[in-house]
Point group: C2
Chain length 111, copies 2
Amino acid sequence: MQNLNSCPMIHAMNIIGNKWSPIIIYAIGDRTIRFGQLAALIDNISRKVLAEQLKSLENEGVINRESFAEIPPRVEYSLTEKGVDLLPILNQICAWGSTMQEEVVCEAILK
Amino acid sequence: MQNLNSCPMIHAMNIIGNKWSPIIIYAIGDRTIRFGQLAALIDNISRKVLAEQLKSLENEGVINRESFAEIPPRVEYSLTEKGVDLLPILNQICAWGSTMQEEVVCEAILK
């Protein structure tokens, strides 16, 4: 059983505290997207890890999964309201990452 | 060699994309803090993992480590400017985590 009294920061990190979750949420953004499109969009993620992360985020109530009984089967993902709430935060993390990258470039040039 | 042209979001996640880094940065905040104080502040983190994460964040330029030649030796940590830039973002993640926790509580009551 989850400790409901735990720090909200730790609670948040239990949901999005890994390398891929924020990237997946960011990649879905405000649209509905198919599994294959998402896999193509995110460099270096294996389909297995992507599927596991999507399942976990669906269980946490951050993303919606809708499957259509078609041939071939179609599965679409979108963010829930809670997931959409993360987008402005992830935008800021992205901007922060950008300033960190610039620093890396500068250091590489200086060396 | 790091790919300097990679997405800034992935770059950011390579630095803070794990459960503990954001929690450690958040716990340091705007003060200077000793290793033992930090270990006491963060529930459930082992001293080994804390030391590894601090080393990694120091290498990434997110935290400063200052050691004093005293007996017993004293080591203090604080955030660099880049680390301080993360604090308002982490505050928002904490607030998001709080709304997620409320939802868990409500669901637990409803069941």
